[in-house]
């Protein structure tokens, strides 16, 4: 069972690792061109494992901002992980040991959370470990490759690879939306609200990390009020 979960995690982690490679490649290039060493760029990716937070953090390092500013920025941009962690705490197999919870936590990224949330029923920590075993090297090695090679990867490849992550997100959220009208409403609602933040005056100035937090709280909050889930839905995210 453990081995099976681990293998499934490995398999589902492959597209994540590919998408990560492209994104972290760009991070590596930017970090080194900003004056960081290759080792420092790789260390950031290995210890942070987050895209938006790292790009924002790099800006602060290069601008010699204060440590407080760094902490606050990371808190705001990555606050969505808090929601995901909370959600995943209910999704993990019951009686999962604290040590497992601490290890699984390190690998809570948008994508790994996405695939573990889409598993039917409870999820084993070994599923997450499987995904982490390919996603973390993908993220770290992408940074290394980007830092070393600068512009080795032609622009058009980087451009094409950068939609990989979004394609995966859609593959996670669209199938359940076909059969569950409430989920369809949540997906559509969240896309609408975040689009509003992208174009509307004043709202446009809200940072992307905040947009995700506000949209998630708002849309999931309203959906839970309008359409509370029934008992049998709790065990699986795929059920209609």
């Amino acid at each position: 069972m453990k081995r099976e979960s681990f293998k499934r995690g490995l398999r589902d982690g492959v597209p994540i690792a590919l998408g990560y490679f492209a994104v972290s490649f760009t991070f590596g290039m930017m970090a080194v061109s900003g004056g960081l060493s290759i080792w420092q760029a790789v260390l950031i990716s290995l210890t942070n494992l987050t895209s938006a937070g790292q790009f924002a953090g790099l800006d602060i390092i290069l601008a010699a901002g204060s440590y407080w500013e760094m902490a606050l920025t990371q808190l705001i941009i990555n606050l969505r992980y808090c929601l995901m962690s909370f959600s995943l705490s209910q999704k993990l197999e019951r009686n999962t040991a604290l040590s497992h919870r601490c290890f699984v936590s390190f690998g809570i990224t948008d994508e790994i959370f996405g695939i573990s949330a889409s598993q039917e029923g409870r999820v084993s920590p070994y599923y997450n470990y499987g995904a982490m075993c390919v996603a973390i090297p993908g993220w770290t090695l992408g940074t290394l490759a980007g830092a070393i090679s600068g512009n080795l990867l032609p622009d058009f490849l980087v451009s094409a690879l950068s939609v990989a992550i979004y394609g995966m997100f859609l593959a996670i959220i669209i199938p359940p939306a076909k059969t569950n009208r409430a989920v369809a409403g949540v997906v559509l609602g969240a896309m609408t609200v975040s689009s509003l933040f992208a174009v509307a005056p004043v709202l446009r100035n809200v940072s992307s990390g905040f947009v995700i937090i506000i949209t998630t709280l708002l849309v999931a909050g309203i959906a839970a009020y309008i359409s509370p889930i029934k008992e049998e839905q709790e065990e699986g995210y795929h059920e209609s």
Binding site: G57, M84, F113, I229
Partner: protein, 108 residues
């Protein structure tokens, strides 16, 4: 630079890890409130949808190729293709679109 780069990295990594770890480590009890349960059930969909759109439209070199990638990904996801298939189809669509679009005058 008066700041130590390794302190920056420590602060970044520390804050990010605590955000991820604390809810998971502290919330062990089964949540019984139907509202909170429903809320948590909807969180991933709201969160992933908000991150995907409209961000996907500015992910590539041009909005046109990104839109094509988005449409292709939506169709593939609707047909319940696997994660990897949807991702690769979206990448291929963008790749092909960016090769073909310059041939069409007025679009790019």
């Amino acid at each position: 630079m008066s700041h130590n780069i390794y302190v920056y990295i420590l602060v970044m990594a520390g804050v990010t890890y605590l955000i991820r770890m604390l809810p998971m480590a502290l919330v062990k009890k089964e949540i019984t409130s139907p509202y909170i349960k429903s809320f948590l059930y909807y969180v991933p969909y709201a969160c992933l949808a908000a991150m995907t759109f409209p961000a996907i439209l500015s992910a590539t070199d041009s909005t046109v190729s990104a839109t094509i990638g988005f449409v292709v990904a939506m169709i593939a996801a609707y047909k319940e293709k696997s994660l990897l298939t949807v991702a690769l189809l979206a990448c291929s669509a963008v790749f092909i679109a960016e090769r073909l679009l310059p041939l069409l005058p007025g679009l790019m």
